[in-house]
């Protein structure tokens, strides 16, 4: 099937390239199911999403997706080891309370895990803190401190360091600026970091 890349979010584009055809996927915090839909449609993937927001669930069902209403925090316990080729936490990692526990469980349930999160060390954020003295609000972190759902503020370096500590293998990484991929100094210029990881130990 020919890939159609117009109107696809850049982070979804990267993930689509990584996922092997006919893979089984579990999308944690899948929102309205846009990514899951693309994975099924374009990569022949199968699987389902977990989402907490009812309105988003209605959208998923309308797309014909299998969707379970629930929170990510407790959603993984029921699955057997290595149940999925990929467990996806795209833009949901920073909203989980117990990141460490969930990531560990995701690496248990999935052969590989895909993680996407806003880079807190994005240069605009740095400038806003340094010169504005204010909590950053920009394309990577679009919400005010009093309305954001983000619980954790991590940088790309933080995540790389975390993986090194936990002996998690980083197989692929992608960094996104405003519209395009960032090659140079991603921890400064990327708004979003996306990682494909596997393995991991205590």
């Amino acid at each position: 099937m020919a890939m159609r890349y117009e109107n696809i979010y850049p982070d979804h584009r990267i993930i689509l390239e990584w996922v092997t055809p006919s893979a089984s996927v579990l999308d944690l915090g899948c929102g309205g199911g846009e990514l899951l839909y693309l994975l099924i449609k374009q990569k022949g993937a199968h699987g389902h999403g977990i989402e907490i927001n009812v309105e988003e669930i209605y959208k998923c069902v309308a797309k014909g997706l299998n969707i379970l209403h629930g929170d990510i925090e407790n959603g993984l316990a029921d699955y057997k080891d290595q149940s999925f080729d990929y467990v996806i936490l795209n833009q949901s990692l920073q909203q989980i309370r117990q990141v460490d526990r969930v990531l560990k469980d995701a690496l248990r349930v999935g052969k590989k895990v895909i993680v996407g999160f806003p880079n807190f060390a994005y240069y605009r954020s740095r400038l806003q803190i340094l010169f504005g003295g204010r909590t950053p609000v920009n394309a990577a972190l679009p919400y005010q401190w009093y309305e954001t759902l983000n619980l954790h503020f991590l940088s790309i370096l933080d995540f790389v360091e975390y993986c090194r500590e936990k002996k998690i293998r980083i197989e692929h990484k992608g960094f996104l600026g405003k519209d395009q991929q960032v090659q140079l100094f991603p921890n400064v210029f990327a708004q979003t970091g996306i990682f494909l990881i596997s393995g991991g130990k205590e």
Binding site: Y37, I40, K41, H46, H48, V54, I57, Y58, K59, C60, V61, A62, K63, G64, L65, N66, I67, L68, H69, G70, D78, Y79, K80, S83
Partner: protein, 374 residues
């Protein structure tokens, strides 16, 4: 609204799950829509404790439509332009199917307590006979709320090859002690009524007071704190009576009305038999989930409601968990509602949205769809 008629299917005998034989058995049923040429569009609707075969449309000369009319009909969740919808009255019921009020062929009198204890599985076995009789090898879906949802689970476990999908709504794989307790209070109210007379009241006055109290208890559990407050508040009824314990509040009046009304249309012995069947139901029949769902291939849509405290969502989540473990294609949604357990009869818009899209996916057998409208 279209005029519909109840039909009847009678077969000789059924071996019950407890080993006893019962027969002949009549099952009352209604159908809506047309069965397609390859018999692939049949949906079986399974009713709750006090429901009946009359799920949609109007009976000749009556003004109240069937109990799920808002969900079944042209363009509705169960679109009768697309699907052939069947609803039957359960075994043990009193709305046309064989139950304790039916004539016992051996004595020529109503069975009363000579009627054997039946199970949810027995009800489903009768439905299977009906489906066979209608020439349907595989149902597109089996759907039901509350006790209807238990029948859905029983279909999944006992006839996995005969269904392409299942939609259990506001239900549980087995009753909690609290749920059994409410049913037992209802049963004791019936049996405490002197008119009950050990079930032998068919040639005299029925245990109307006992049955009305049982129904009152039921109704309390079907509503929520919020829905009661919204519906009744603390409104007092104006009364010229000088008696001490009249129905002062609107909620009291309502429950009395509901109770008295129920007596006109329901048999007290049926209430005893059916609630017992519900209490004893064990969805996985003592097996592990893997064993129970071993042969299930169908897709499952589980629906719960936020304010339902009679069948709280954790019970639906247990069903979802079982589906997950068995690796079934499953969707689950807990719909926002303040209606309590009654929500499955009232939250039509949300329920329709979920069911419509789910059924279409199963019927046309696709993974995802482009043509979605949100």
């Amino acid at each position: 609204m279209s005029i519909v008629q109840t039909e009847y299917f009678t077969f000789n005998e059924l071996m019950l799950e407890n080993g006893e034989k019962l027969g002949p058995i009549t099952i009352a049923y209604e159908t809506y829509g047309q069965l397609d040429s390859n018999r692939s569009n049949a949906v079986l609707i399974l009713h709750a404790l006090s429901g009946d075969a009359h799920a949609a449309g109007l009976h000749e000369g009556e003004k109240d439509p069937g109990w799920w009319d808002s969900m079944i009909g042209p363009g509705k969740a169960f679109d009768t332009n697309e699907y052939f919808v069947i609803c039957s009255n359960v075994l043990g019921g009193c709305k046309g199917s064989t139950g304790p009020a039916s004539l016992n062929p051996k004595s020529g009198k109503p069975y009363a307590l000579d009627f054997p204890l039946i199970t949810i599985g027995d009800m489903v076995n009768c439905q299977k006979r009906l489906i066979d009789h209608l020439g349907i090898e595989q149902l597109l879906s089996v759907v039901g709320g509350s006790m209807g949802g238990m029948q859905v689970l029983s279909w999944l476990v006992n006839y996995p090859q005969s269904i392409r999908s299942a939609i259990p709504i506001a239900t549980t794989a087995k009753h909690s002690p609290q749920q059994i307790a409410f049913n037992e209070a209802g049963r004791l109210a019936i049996m405490a009524d002197p008119n009950w007379n050990s079930g032998n009241y068919y040639d005299g006055s029925p245990p109307a007071k006992g049955l009305a109290v049982a129904r009152m208890i039921g109704h309390i559990t079907y509503m929520s704190d919020v829905s009661m407050a919204e519906k009744f508040g603390r409104q007092k009824k104006w009364s010229s009576q000088k008696e001490k314990f009249t129905a002062d509040f609107e909620v009291e009046e309502y429950l009395r009305y509901r109770g008295d009304n129920f007596v006109k249309r329901f048999d007290a012995n049926s209430y005893l038999y059916i609630t017992k069947a519900i209490d004893h139901f064990d969805g996985f029949a003592g097996k592990t989930v893997q064993e129970a769902f071993q042969h299930v291939k169908g897709k499952v849509l589980v629906i719960a409601f936020k304010s339902d405290w009679l069948y709280p969502s954790y019970q639906s989540q247990e069903i979802v968990k079982a589906c997950k473990i068995a690796g079934l294609e499953t969707s689950y949604c807990e719909i926002e509602s303040t209606y309590g357990h009654d929500a499955f009869l009232l939250e039509i818009e949300e329920e329709s949205h979920l069911i419509q899209h789910f059924l279409k996916k199963v019927f046309y057998d696709y993974e995802v769809t482009d043509g979605y409208a949100i």
